[in-house]
Subunit: 455 residues, 2 copies
């Protein structure tokens, strides 16, 4: 038995008990009543890092919730790993749907049941215990820095500013994060991509005031009809976006990576059933996994105009509105796309309406190349603990702070998530498998060993 | 001087004073506080008809406001004219915008200023005074029946039922109505058509619940995008409705009638300016007057779905909704069209969504052929009093009770309106030109003379 495995085994109950202490603090970042809990939670993390063997650890104030920073520098010539996690959690409503107290963790059916059990107290604490294990068994092969924020669930506003000011402090070679899921308990995976986002509000104005649909209908453009037409023209029969140059910068995924992505188990019938649809709709030539993982999307998030009440009021409305969003993929610059789409709608506006497009929000996509040494190290680590190669997985969602890290610090993040889809994060009865907690610790330790050799 | 003209001239001040008495009763049908005023107004009409020379006149109760019925039968072999009008008026809000008391008529700048001065007390009372003039000068050439309702501004619900029960009582050869406008004071016109209406609510369901637009966007149909596409497909580049068989029953207007319709003065620059648009949009091959007069329309009256609040919430909504209306033209059966459009949307629904279409409301179009003897009589009457041929005018709007008359009683209505666009009906400072009041009386008398000869 390896010394690290032995250490984990001897301390396994304590590890769990320490995690429970962290979970017991109701650190809900979106509720101001929990302001003091945020500070208590940050302080407990600091104390944990110090006990685990950090050279230093501190609670650093921000305009919002504090950031916990800790480090252990063993040798400036060795590579440095920056661990990122968050100690804030989501609210617990509707509380009546919880089977147990969300802030009093219990173990049942091999799982920890509590708010934050997975997201992200359970997952981030694995890094603290992996660190402790390596320090105490004298096997830590890299420098380690910890950075934990208390605002991940509300947009990471303070951290985005804090890293700009603390670039030097957090200087590292790679960021290690456990805040995502794996495909299944026996199908290890690493999230290698997150989509970016661009978001617009479109306002179409026809006549200057609402008109009588009888006296004018048929001779005047109806802005709702025009908006429908303009949106419809943006997608062709193959479900490809037709806006010129939209795909110009889209990352071309290697055949090898596409093969790996598609190794993820996927049951189309099961998927359709879970969504309640008879058929799917996506870009021709790509699998469902690729459609959400490596291809951009074009979705109305909202649309409104005219009469929307009960019954049948006739009106030819003056204005029509839509909220449009595109998920973006690596190499697509969200600001460039924002302008491209804005210009497209404004340029193609028929002369019988005026069109105003306002970009509202955006963020870059993130991708971790699978030939990166740090990725290879993670892959090797999973091979050790799971006995099989992890599948690289592109998530369709966006975690803006991950691309911000790359932008500001110039380094990649490795997203080694050990959660499962069934963990009910953000929902009642959040849970995290106990064996994933321990296996995560082992895999993280294995990552450090491989990374020290490869980096 | 004709005896009728002499009679009008000798009684002109009294005619106006009697109209003012009618106007002074605030018979606002949509406000229940005026229930007693409705009855008072109906009773005053009855008294007026009796004094004018009716054989009988009565206030007939309904579930809503009473109907005034009066008649004078001179000879059962002579043709019978049924006069229709309404004694109810619109509310007066915003009262602060009125320059004078809406229920105390004043004459200024050659106009009567008051609520109901045009719509429809002023216009309907011309018929009472034309009738009186003919009776008192012994020149009445037809039988006359009067039918005045008190719910025109709130949908004519009671009258629609009443005529079914009183078919025999109101049996006539033609209906004569003054409740519309003419093109301009020096451009007499007769409204020969009103459009019908069909109205639907469309509900499109994609996934059974709102989805994360990142995790699913690109692989699942978005019901808002689908709704846009389905609406856009209903109109081609020539702004023709593409739903199969939609135009199947559309009345083919004769070249002559189209020529006459287009004699109405129309200034495109002025029209665009009044609407605040740089360009118009309508079916290719038809003038603006034809587009709203003799061609059907396809307009969204409302549309909604997803997030419609401030800022940029991302969501892939489960449902999308639209309120769709088509103005219909003569020979299009509104129930047939309702089913046609419903089936079109349901049949063409892509298999990745489900579509539900609910017809909400409908009414038939109305058309008065310009070769009808009664129309010819009206035309000749305008020639007498205005010295020029009136232009047949198709209104884009709908007056459902007019098509109900045709449906139930099997007779046509002649819409001899003497109002003007500037009369501010339904608005503050409603007015009606005094010279139109007298000229209307003369024209109505001329109609009776011509009709008696032609019918």
């Amino acid at each position: 038995m390896k010394t690290t495995d032995k250490y984990i085994d001897e301390n396994k109950d304590r590890f769990l008990e320490e995690l429970f202490e962290l979970i017991r603090i109701p650190s809900i970042s979106s509720e101001s009543a929990h302001k003091q809990d945020m500070i208590r939670c940050a302080e407990l993390w600091r104390d944990n890092l110090l006990k685990a063997g950090a050279d230093k650890a501190e609670v650093m104030p921000t305009e919002g919730n504090p950031i916990v920073y800790g480090e252990k520098i063993i040798n400036k010539k060795k590579p440095t790993v920056l661990v990122y996690g968050h100690y804030d959690v989501m609210p617990v409503d509707p509380i009546e749907l919880w089977n147990t107290d969300p802030f009093e963790p219990v173990i049942k059916d091999g799982k920890i049941w509590a708010r934050g059990a997975d997201d992200d107290k359970g997952q981030s604490f694995m890094h603290a215990k992996a660190f402790e294990t390596m320090v105490k068994t004298d096997t830590l092969p890299c420098n380690v820095k910890f950075m934990l924020e208390g605002e991940e669930e509300i947009g990471s506003g303070s951290l985005a500013k804090w890293i700009v000011k603390n670039k030097k402090l957090v200087k590292a070679d790679v960021i290690l994060v456990s805040d995502t899921s794996m495909i299944a308990a026996d199908v290890p995976s690493i999230t290698t991509g997150l989509r970016g986002l661009a978001y617009w509000e479109i306002e179409i104005t026809g006549p200057k005031a609402d008109l009588h649909s009888g006296l004018f209908g048929g001779s005047v453009a109806n802005p709702l009809n025009v908006l429908c037409e303009m949106i419809a023209e943006c997608m062709d029969r193959n479900n490809r976006i037709t806006i010129p140059h939209f795909y110009h910068d889209v990352e071309k995924c290697s055949k090898r990576e596409r093969e790996l992505l598609n190794m993820a188990p996927y049951d189309e019938e099961e998927y359709k059933k879970s969504l309640g649809v008879k058929a799917l709709r996506g870009e021709k030539g790509y699998t469902k996994i690729e459609q959400v993982g490596i291809r951009p999307s074009f979705d109305l998030c909202g649309m409104w105009g005219g009469y929307t009440g009960e019954g049948s009021k006739t009106v030819l409305p003056s204005k029509a509105y839509a909220k449009l969003s595109c998920r973006l993929v690596p190499h697509q610059d969200h600001e460039k796309i924002a302008k491209l789409v804005q210009r497209h709608f404004e340029k193609n506006a028929p002369d019988y309406v005026s069109v105003k497009v306002t970009p509202l929000h955006g963020g870059e996509a993130y991708v971790c190349p699978i030939d990166l040494p740090a990725y290879k190290a993670a892959e090797a680590a999973y091979m050790n603990t799971y006995g099989k190669q992890p599948i690289p997985m592109r998530s369709g969602g966006s975690i803006p702070i991950i691309s911000t890290f790359e932008e500001v610090l110039g380094i990649k993040s490795i997203l080694m998530g050990f959660g499962l889809g069934e963990d009910a994060i953000h929902s009642p009865n959040e849970n995290y498998r106990v064996d994933h907690f321990y296996k995560g610790i082992e895999t993280i330790i294995a990552f450090y060993q491989h990374y020290a050799e490869m980096a």
